[in-house]
C-alpha cells in the first residue's frame, strides 16, 4: 500500500485500516457514506466492501456483512484528516474537497452554511470520496506526439478520464523537454497538490499559481512570468475574460473542460464562447472509461462555430 494512504485509512479507525491493508487491487476511489456500505473503485471497477473482502457492486448476497462507518466516526475521521484544524482547510472545504499529503483528494458532501451566493462552511459531513492520486510520469507522451503543442489546446473529457493527470504531465514535459516557460494556474491545487509550498508531484520547471482565482493568476502570470503557455484545469463560462486576455497577449493556453463529445461541446454555450475566443487551436476529447486516452482531435479552424 502507498505509504501516504496509511494515515488516511488510519483516520477511519484500525478496523478500516486493517481492511484496506488487505486489499491488493489498485484502488482509484473510496466512497464512504455515513451508515451506508463503502464502495471501492479498484482497477476501474466498483466493488462493495464486505467483511470477507471486495465484491463486485450488485453481486452482494444477503448473508454478507457490509463494512460501513457511522456518522460520528465519519465526523471524527474528517477532523483527523484536517489535522484537527478545520479552519486551516476552510477554503478547500468550501470548494468541496481537501488535499492531503501524497496529493490525494477527499471530496466532501454535507450541509452547507451559505450566505447569499457564497458557501461559508460545510457542516454535518455525510459522505467522503477519497480519490487516490497517482502520478503517471510520461502519460502525456502519446498525447504530445499526436497533438503538437502549438497554440492553445482544450482537453475535454468526463470525470475520471485523466484530464488533470494529463495536464500535470503536459506541464512537466513542456517545461523540461520542450524548454517552454509554463505557468500553471492551479486554483484548487488539484494539478500540483501543493501542501506547505511543496508540490506532491513532479511539476518540472513550472511556475505554479496555487489557490489564486483563475482570472487574477492568468493576468499576473502574463504580466510577471512571461509564460509561453498557461495551463489551467476545468474552465467554465466565468473564465471567458481571462481566456480572452491570453489571446490578447499571445500566450498559449492549455486547459480542460468537462464534456464528453463534440456534439455536446457545440451545444454548450460556455464551451462555444470559450472556443470563440480563438484561444484554442485544437480540441482533444478523451475516451470515457479509459485513462488519458485520446478519442478524437479537432482543429478549431475546421469547426463551424456560431
Amino acid at each position: 500500500m502507498d505509504k501516504t494512504l496509511e494515515p488516511i485509512f488510519k483516520s477511519f479507525g484500525n478496523t478500516f485500516y486493517a481492511y484496506m491493508s488487505g486489499i491488493n487491487e489498485e484502488i482509484n476511489e473510496i466512497r464512504i457514506r455515513s451508515d451506508k456500505p463503502i464502495i471501492i473503485y479498484a482497477s476501474g471497477k466498483p466493488y462493495i466492501a464486505v467483511k470477507s473482502g471486495l465484491l463486485p457492486l450488485g453481486s452482494i448476497g444477503r448473508s454478507e456483512e457490509v463494512l460501513s462507518i457511522t456518522f460520528q466516526s465519519l465526523r471524527k475521521a474528517f477532523e483527523k484528516l484536517c489535522e484537527f484544524s478545520v479552519y486551516k482547510y476552510q477554503n478547500d472545504i468550501n470548494n468541496g474537497f481537501i488535499t492531503l499529503d501524497g496529493g490525494h483528494r477527499v471530496g466532501l458532501c454535507g450541509t452547507a452554511v451559505s450566505s447569499s451566493l457564497d458557501i461559508k462552511s460545510v457542516i454535518d459531513i455525510t459522505a467522503l470520496n477519497i480519490r487516490v492520486a497517482r502520478e503517471y510520469l510520461g502519460c502525456s507522451d502519446i498525447f504530445l506526439d499526436r497533438v503538437e503543442p502549438c497554440g492553445g489546446i482544450l482537453i475535454c473529457g468526463v470525470p475520471s478520464t485523466g484530464k488533470t493527470t494529463l495536464l500535470r504531465d503536459i506541464s512537466r514535459k513542456l517545461s523540461i523537454d520542450f524548454c517552454k516557460k509554463i505557468s500553471v494556474v492551479d486554483e484548487r491545487c488539484e494539478i500540483s497538490s501543493m501542501i506547505n509550498g511543496r508540490s506532491m508531484f513532479d511539476m518540472g520547471l513550472c511556475d505554479i499559481y496555487c489557490g489564486y482565482p483563475k482570472e487574477k493568476a492568468i493576468i499576473q502570470a502574463i504580466r510577471t512570468m512571461s509564460p509561453d503557455y498557461i495551463v489551467c484545469d476545468e474552465l467554465t463560462g466565468n473564465d471567458l475574460e481571462s481566456v480572452k486576455q491570453t489571446v490578447n497577449y499571445g500566450v498559449g493556453l492549455i486547459a480542460s473542460v468537462h464534456c464528453d463529445c463534440i456534439g455536446n461541446a457545440l451545444k454548450n454555450p460556455s464551451i462555444v464562447n470559450l472556443l470563440n475566443t480563438r484561444a484554442f487551436r485544437k480540441i482533444v476529447f478523451l475516451k470515457s472509461d479509459c485513462f488519458g486516452v485520446i478519442d478524437e482531435i479537432y482543429d478549431l479552424e475546421e469547426l463551424a462555430l456560431d
Binding site: 494515515p7 488510519k10 471524527k76 477532523e79 483527523k80 484536517c82 489535522e83 484537527f84 484544524s85 478545520v86 479552519y87 486551516k88 476552510q90 472545504i93 461559508k120 462552511s121
Partner: protein, 167 residues
C-alpha cells in the same frame, strides 16, 4: 533543649503547610491566566497565520502549562484524537490538581474544541472561552485574597497551639 528544638520544628512544619496551601491558590490563578494567554495567542494565530492546532500547542512557552501542551501535541502526533490527547495529558499531569473540578472540565472542553470548526466559529468559540476564563480568574483571585492569609494564619496558630499543648 531538644524539646524546644522539636517544638520550633513543629511550628515551622505547620507554617510551611499553610504556606503551601496558600501558594496553591496563587498557582491556580497563575495557571488560569496562562490558559487565557494561550487562547488569546491562538485567536491571533488562527486569524493571521492559520497554524495547525498541534503547532499552536507545541509552541506554548508559558511556564506552567508548556509541559501539558507539548504532551497534548505529542499525543496528537502519535495519532490520538484531540479529545483523547487532552484527556490523557490531563490525567498524566498533576499540575492541574490545583484547579477546581469545574475549571478542569471547562479547560478540557475548550481545548478539545480547538480546530473543530471554520475560522468564524473558532474565533467566536475562543472569545467565549476567554470571557469565561476571565470569570474563573476573577473568582480564583477573590478566593485567593480571602483565603491565602487565613490558611497561613490558621496553620501557624494550629502549630503554636499544638506546641503549647505539648509543653
Amino acid at each position: 533543649m531538644i524539646k524546644y528544638m522539636g517544638l520550633i520544628l513543629l511550628v515551622s512544619a505547620f507554617a510551611s503547610a499553610g504556606l503551601c496551601l496558600s501558594s496553591r491558590l496563587s498557582k491556580r490563578v497563575h495557571i488560569l491566566e496562562e490558559f487565557k494567554q494561550l487562547m488569546n495567542k491562538a485567536l491571533v494565530d488562527m486569524r493571521y497565520r492559520m497554524p495547525l492546532v498541534q503547532e499552536i500547542f507545541s509552541t506554548v512557552t508559558a511556564t506552567e502549562i508548556s509541559v501539558l501542551m507539548s504532551d497534548i501535541s505529542d499525543k496528537l502526533q502519535n495519532g490520538l484524537s484531540l479529545e483523547e490527547s487532552v484527556e490523557a495529558a490531563f490525567s498524566e499531569n498533576t499540575l492541574m490538581n490545583v484547579l477546581m473540578p469545574d475549571e478542569i472540565i471547562f479547560i478540557k472542553n475548550a481545548l478539545s474544541s480547538f480546530g473543530t470548526s471554520d475560522l468564524e466559529g473558532q474565533t467566536a468559540m475562543l472569545k467565549n472561552s476567554i470571557n469565561q476564563l476571565d470569570v474563573y480568574i476573577q473568582n480564583a483571585v477573590e478566593f485567593q485574597k480571602n483565603n491565602s492569609k487565613v490558611y497561613l494564619a490558621v496553620s501557624l496558630y494550629a502549630g503554636l497551639a499544638l506546641a503549647i499543648f505539648l509543653i
